[in-house]
Symmetry: C2
Subunit: 234 residues, 2 copies
DNA sequence: CGACGATTTGACTCTACTCAATGTGTGTGG
DNA sequence: CCACACACATTGAGTAGAGTCAAATCGTCG
């Protein structure tokens, strides 16, 4: 039997428009494809990278989802990101040549492995790739600063509403339903990320459901009134 | 009379180690220097860049300090960054080719203006410059995600202590005293940045002073017990 | 089927906010 | 150089939103 993953290439990956290949021509995509390794699937709870480990690869998410977190001086986990297909993991480590956070799978996930040195060489020759790398990093800078503003000066309800809206937008970009989706992270993860307690997350999801804005069934979320939810996020 | 600023070059700039020229050799620095314009000094309250304006230049701070902020849908200012000498402003705009935030001087400040297109061309030819650009962007990604973790799940006192410690570290990197410094931003700015009210900032600075950890005299801060302050930031 | 982790709900507490009043500094114009 | 005005900062009192603690229920994976 042939390797089932052997036919996966940037050229036919549905996430290409969000990922490194964005705006590359056929030849550029083919060149990028040659340096990329397909990583074996990782299982729920598996740790992809450890904070402090040397940064040899960036990883692009092909399917599934992951969370990144740091461990602070008190040994407390602090989630800094959730990764969906098309996201590139590891940019925060480039400055020190080592990973700055842990990244753990929230479900079985498939990844592409991109060697940094080969990527640098390719970026030298391909202005389009260089621009996309800048674009991705710049976007990450903006969204994390934006998030800062979203969390500061906002109530618990606004934060949760913002979280749900942002997830919906991200799913939509990925060709998935922005109306209903599955949360692969726990309530505790969401609370940690938003700076709220588990109980508060649970209560607010219940309230939003009672008000008819969303339907929640365990991990499944359905957004009944997208506009109202968006207003609540302000 | 000759232009007083004409003798300022990357080669003799004291901020070179923090800025774009880091780890470039003499020749590389000279090449970088040719594309950089010295911007005329900007005065307190002047706005350097407006959100939405096309991104033509990055700016490096040579002296002084600035704040960056967005205006949210409710017209409320949200400060996302304070810039000190050596910092590069504008990375968050690369993804959309326009500035994503406003940047305003907190005091009279001197800036270097770096044309993006020329920088891209130079980065193509100079691997060291490319690496430093990656390093700076990556560092910004890390610190803003780190800050997220610092603000979430932390009390007002921890946030303020963290803010003071971080400023001290940044002044130290810049060859200035990490023991005493002047806050160029108002208490309201600090509160906005940390997600706290002006009153809370004021009260906490008073408390820290009463406990003998710091001395505050208006804008002047002296850190009496750096270790204790650092502990309080945890 | 059983055990453990995740989630929900309730009761009480406390931190940081708001509102209000007063004090302090800075800068401008006469 | 001084006086006045305005922005900035401090301090106090009362309040509310989110945290903590506790207990019950639900789901999932051996």
């Amino acid at each position: 039997m042939t390797n089932m993953t052997s036919h996966i290439h940037c050229q036919n990956c549905s996430m290409a428009a969000l990922c490194l290949p964005y705006q590359l021509d056929q030849e550029g995509m083919a060149r990028l494809d040659t340096i990329i390794q397909r990583h074996k699937p990782i299982q729920k709870r598996d740790i992809l990278v450890h904070a402090g480990a040397p940064l040899k690869f960036l990883y692009a998410v092909r399917s599934g989802s992951l969370k990144s977190y740091t461990i602070d001086d008190n040994g407390v986990e602090q989630i800094i990101d959730f990764h969906l297909p098309g996201d590139v993991i590891g940019f925060d480590g480039l400055s020190e040549n080592e990973h700055r956070s842990y990244t753990q799978a929230l479900e079985t996930s498939m990844l592409c492995e991109i060697p940094i040195t080969a990527l640098d060489e390719l970026a030298e020759q391909m202005p389009g790739l260089r621009r996309q790398l800048w674009r991705l990093m710049s976007g990450e800078i903006f969204t994390s600063k934006q998030l800062l503003g979203t969390l500061n000066n906002r109530t618990a309800q606004q934060r949760v509403a913002h979280f749900l809206v942002t997830l919906a937008e991200r799913f939509k970009e990925r060709g998935l339903s922005s109306r209903s989706y599955r949360l692969t992270m726990t309530r505790a993860d969401i609370g940690n990320y938003l700076g709220l307690s588990v109980e508060t997350i649970s209560r607010i999801l219940s309230n939003l459901q009672q008000e008819g804005v969303i339907e929640v069934q365990n991990k499944l979320v359905e957004i009944i009134e997208p506009l109202r939810l968006r207003e609540m996020a302000q």
